[in-house]
Amino acid sequence: MRRKSRHGLLKLLVLVAIVVALGFALEQQGDLISPLQSTTLLMSLNSDEAGFAPDGDAPALQADAESAAVTTDSAAQVSDDSTTATTTEAMTIETFTAELAAAGVDVEAVSASMSAEGRSLDNLLAVVNSGRVTVAELAARLNGETASTENSAPAPSSESDSLFNIHWEDFGSVLYDLWVILAATVIVIVLSRPASWLKNRLRRTATA
């Protein structure tokens, strides 16, 4: 009996070690950001009627990014830079603000409005580093250039047409989902002890 419980504890410790190690690795890569958090953050940035479209909605957002790029040469440069940044390594706040400014975004105004909501530019940077949105798309969104994403909807590019167009650089997001599942498991295992004690107590009271 004792051996069995020791074996169970060992399994739990292994699970905790995996959760901690995976969490640390995801944190280092900038992937430890809840998709729900990034979705609500992006939605709150733009109250445009067209609504929020994620990074994966390639056709609409690509069109947005392209329209932004046509506006100025510097914006086009930002688009290239941001693509490189998301595919290679996590962007720093300095690079991020510089690229936003280059794309014509009033960084100070954005920062002020975000801090009024209890957020900061770091939150936006985390979303960009997680690969869910590029700087160009974010700049377009902040500049209010996302009007009517649906108008350009049914024109997928040749890249987004191919079925196995997998973005391996975003694999961290898949690992994030695994991490959430494993972390929830650890929490449930830890909480199940007092819960089962309480349940037994209630059962005894009910039968008495």
């Binding site: 998709p35 909605d57 869910r132 049914p154 997998i166 973005h167 959430v180 929830a184 349940k199």
Partner: protein, 173 residues
């Protein structure tokens, strides 16, 4: 004597069938988990694969429900009968998961762009459905995490048995 042999055989056949059902469940659940994690990240797969995986997931999910149909019927019958019910939390969670999964699947089909349905929804409706589809999907992640966590013992026991059973145990003769 002959009757005894026949009964033994019938019992053995039932046992084998049950074991096979568990084995099917293990592999189906593994498939569901992998598809789910990949499917959740649209920017990883791209839209066409995301939509196809969504349909595949819906089919596998339906099969998962069919395989657990007896449990669903039994717990539904006894849900309000006992004051303290072992499976009550599990049941409530599963109902929420089913409802959310159904919503995400239907909204996903409605806003799909690459599977050739072209439902021509109005802009305003699509503008509402898309973010709600995404938030619903994030809620599915939380519910799936809780679902997996509540079945952890089963996963460890049967997953270990059927997925890693071929590995010889250290110290076994």
């Amino acid at each position: 004597m002959a009757t005894q042999i026949l009964t033994d055989r019938a019992e053995a056949a039932t046992r084998t069938r049950k074991l096979n059902k568990v084995k099917i469940n293990v592999f189906l659940d593994l498939l569901l988990t992998v598809i789910f994690m990949v499917e959740m990240e649209e920017h990883f797969t791209g839209l066409p694969l995301h939509e196809i995986l969504g349909l595949l997931f819906a089919a596998a999910f339906s099969l998962h429900i069919l395989l657990h149909w007896d449990w669903i019927v039994n717990v539904t019958r006894t849900f309000f009968r006992k004051l303290i019910h072992e499976s009550r939390l599990n049941y409530v969670l599963n109902v929420a998961l089913f409802a959310d999964m159904l919503f995400v699947t239907v909204s996903g089909i409605l806003i799909s762009r690459t599977i050739g349905l072209n439902l021509q929804l109005s802009e305003s409706l699509e503008g509402i459905l898309r973010p709600v589809h995404m938030i619903g999907a994030e809620l599915v992640l939380i519910l799936v995490a809780a679902h997996v966590a509540l079945h952890w013992k089963w996963i460890m026991t049967n997953g270990g048995k059927y997925l890693f059973g071929w590995i010889p145990k250290v110290g076994s003769k």
